[in-house]
């Protein structure tokens, strides 16, 4: 029971949603999946703005790439042929490894990104794919996901702007993504998660991006790792070296479940494996 809530508002349009949010200045919160109930439990929140009636639940693929509405659920991503076949499939993998089947039918792309929890599974993949966030309100019309998560997205969005969707540009051919996550069980918050994107030219890596999730308070790209891999043959040894670099670069937040040393080791292994997997997919013409 969220005893603090006085109203559930159903806006007729995105514009109305933004207007009402801004007017309420934090007392009215947009709600998509609503799985992070603690967000809505604080005393200053007096109502919620239900985003479900808005036309934001879509997944489309066109010549430019993927367009995903903010209230598309992780279940939608997993079930979408377009998403599963996109750039090697890491978007669907990340969505599919998050939480559980029932929760994935509630967790939304917008909520996972705008709420940006340490364990948010999708943003690392959005980072390596160079995705853009579409925003209604003063913070809009668009920010790169990288810009959005440089700090917690609430800093950009405030109570005045609403994430309405993401655009994932079509990556070049002979490139692909991979995603790996390790938790304690199959239905779990990650101890570490890694998203990679690799572009190959024969055996040589021409482009690479690596993002880490679940290890630090916010996910981020690791440009230092990328520079070690680009213009090199991406074999096991190079991938392992990249992994070790990542392990050194990461600053794990405290977690009672595992020591810093173990989590660094995990990062090292997952980065190496995800790089090799992305390369394998890129070499095989994607998935």
């Amino acid at each position: 029971m969220l005893g603090n809530l006085r109203e559930v508002v159903r806006p007729a349009s995105v514009a109305e949603a933004v207007e009402r949010m801004a007017a309420a200045g934090g007392a009215l919160r947009p709600i998509a999946g609503g799985t992070a109930t603690s967000v809505f439990r604080s005393r200053e929140v007096q109502g919620v703005l239900d985003l479900w009636p808005l036309p934001l639940r879509f997944v489309r693929r066109d010549g430019d790439g993927l367009r995903i509405g903010a209230t598309a659920t992780f279940g939608d991503l997993v079930r979408s042929d377009a998403v599963r076949g996109f750039a090697g499939g890491a978007l669907a993998e990340a969505a599919g490894r998050a939480a559980s089947t029932t929760l994935r039918n509630l967790i939304t792309v917008g909520g996972n990104l705008a709420g940006l929890y340490p364990w948010s599974d999708l943003p690392p993949v959005l980072l390596v794919l160079g995705a853009r966030a579409e925003i209604a309100g003063p913070a809009g019309p668009e920010l790169t996901v990288e810009e959005l998560v440089a700090h917690h997205p609430s800093r950009r969005l405030g109570h005045h702007s609403l994430l309405t969707g993401v655009v994932v540009p079509e990556p070049p051919p002979s490139s692909a993504t991979a995603f790996l996550k390790q938790g304690e069980s199959a239905f779990d918050y990650g101890l570490a998660s890694v998203a990679t994107w690799v572009e190959l030219d024969g055996a040589v890596c021409r482009g690479c991006r690596v993002a880490l999730g679940s290890v630090e308070p916010r996910c981020r790209l690791l440009p230092e790792v990328e520079s070690v891999v680009v213009n090199q043959a991406l074999d096991g040894e190079r991938a392992a070296a990249a992994g070790r670099l990542a392990a050194d670069a990461v600053r794990p937040a405290a977690d009672a479940r595992a020591s810093e040393g173990y989590r660094r080791q995990l990062v090292s292994v997952l980065v190496a494996r995800a790089l090799l997997e992305a390369a394998r997919r890129a070499g095989g013409g994607g998935r």
Partner: protein
Amino acid sequence: MSAERDLKVVGRSVTKLDALGLACGQARYTDDVVIPGLLHAKILGSPHPHARIVALDTSRAEALPGVLAVLDHRNTPRVMRTTAGQGFPEPSPYDYTTFDDKVRFVGDRVAAVAAQTEAIACEALSLIRVEYEELPAVFDPEEALGPGAPVIHDEPDARAAIPVEYEPGRNLAAHVKVEVGDVERALAAAERVFTRRFTVHMASHAMLEPPITICDFDDTGRLVVRTSTQVPFHARRIVAQALQIPVRMVRVVKPRIGGGFGGKQEVMLEPVCALLAWRTRCPVRLAMTREEVFVTARTRHAQVIDLRTAVDGGGDLTAIDLKVVMNNGGYGSHALTVACNTGSKVLPIFNRVPNQRFEATTAYTNLPVGGAYRGYGATQGYFALGVVVDEMAAALGVDVVDLWRRHHIRAGETSPIFAALGEGRAGVVMTVDSCGLPECLDRGAEAIGWAEKRGRRPRDGSRVRGVGMVCLMQGSSIPEVDMGAASIKLNDDGSFNLLVGATDLGTGSDTVLAQIAAEVLGVGVEQVLVYSSDTDLTPFDVGAYASSTTYLSGGAVQKAAADARRQILAAAAAMTGASLEELDLADGAVVGPDGRPLVTLSEVALHTLYAHNQHQVMGIASHISHRSPPPFSAHFAEVEVDEETGVVRVLDYVAAVDCGTAVNPKLAEGQTEGAVVNGIGYALTERYLFDGRGRVLNPSFGGYKIPCAADIPPVRTILVSTWEPTGPFGAKSVSEIGINGPLPAIANAIFDAVGVRLTDAPFTPERVLSALRAR
């Protein structure tokens, strides 16, 4: 009834009687009632691990509109007792009362509120002002037993109800020591001695339905306690005790329950709820939140185990020395009995080892409290024994399966431990009359592919595979202590109402008991209508624990049904003029020596109810067991270890189990499968995480990871059939033994794969990786 008789109902996998109702959501659990005027209760827990309550101000809470009662130590009776659901007088120390002026773990009970809504009750809790005098806290049992440790139970009225060792002044909650032969001499003379220390951790039952109690009044003013319990009769006794009212004023009813596994063999919520109801004269609902289940309900006891074994030149075991230090947390429920069971269920499996010693010491600490949890000490003990046996086999250069074969107890044998170690009293001399372990070993080894896989270490990149195994034995009921009773009456149409005190937690005991009755009475199981666990209507039963329902309660049902059978045959003899000795029951009728029906059960019923010499055909019987015949099991696990991440995956699991006659094979398999998966979670992922002040950091399913469907390996159960002469139709128990296998079998499989011996549970990836690095 001869052992050779063809069984018609027993041994069949009949559908569990309540299964369809449950599958359709129509079965009613405790909370599935609508009671006008129901009040909602909430409990205030302590933020400190160890403190005295110096001052309590509940005035603002009491003044809040909608609050009808606030209880704490000042306005409730102080009745020292145990929460453990055990036979009276209980072997667990009486160190607990409903509300005390001291708190002994973070979350321990301070006060309770009853209000018109849950929200008001929660608000009322926040208005209660408590002044604590914080005391030094201790979390390690050795430290707690050592000099200078803070005394957790310093109240003058804490006591042991039966003559057992109990020294709360040094935080000693229980102590037991037995020896046969001369262990020190044997260790000194041994060819080789193996020594290992093991740590086994605290765990949560994690049953899906949190404990919940609803108290109401009937129209004569008696208290009706509707509760999710494994022990309705103990609950009735203890509620009456706690409220200081006569037992006859209390009725306890158990509706459908959502699992227990020992976690509901504890009388925790009922007295609080009853006191609130009694005080307000209103119906009251008290439910645990999931967080409260993790923190304030009971847990599996953590133990430190030192195991030494000695082997002679011929490769025979000559001594076993098992030493346990057990952590009971803030209260002493099951402090003696779980400790005893670690020895009493483990040592006898090597009954011919002439020198055996067992010593267990249980300490109080300021942590969540240990209680009954499926396996009940044997889970911890078999980890130690199973790993050391594997180690011995490796050192001796023999197949560990053969080592088990050579040493395990056999049918017709006894162990001096049976008599030496009881549950707080002297044990019971007994021989093992049925032991299917040889067949369990044969069939289990074959099913897992033991010969093909052991020692091969096949590698796929950084992942290596291995197989491991263990043998197990448990018990069936607590002999000479526990009692179950049943009554069964005949209805007009030849059906029967079977009333049993025995408690079905979802285990299917109602069905199993119906099958036993149906077998005796020669009817189909659908003719037996079971009603259980209502202290007004059903005869006594200690409740569902100690693997006693099939064996003990089933024995009572068999006798009661036999009693009814005698009455039916006598009536039929009178009706037909046939001779009593010539009559039998089959297919819903009384049959003559040629097997042809003479009168139907319905005709007998109508005759006895209405026609002549009218009486209600009704059998009633009680049963106590005089022995605890062990089920036996051999478990085999195949694992894959990722040497880069330390992740252990179970690839395959086989549990071969001898439970005598499996009254309902599918249910026996279900018990085994559920126990095994629970055990796998216990071995790999489940653990309590604490901060430095004894506060649980992960009191949720999000933080405490039990296996989900996507985590399970294939699990195969092989039922090995033996005949236990003292059990109903040859049956023994099956519900606990399965949970004891995964910890040792997986540990041994990990050793087979990567050569590291893990002695600290659970085998988290970090632990495995550390061990690999230290290789």
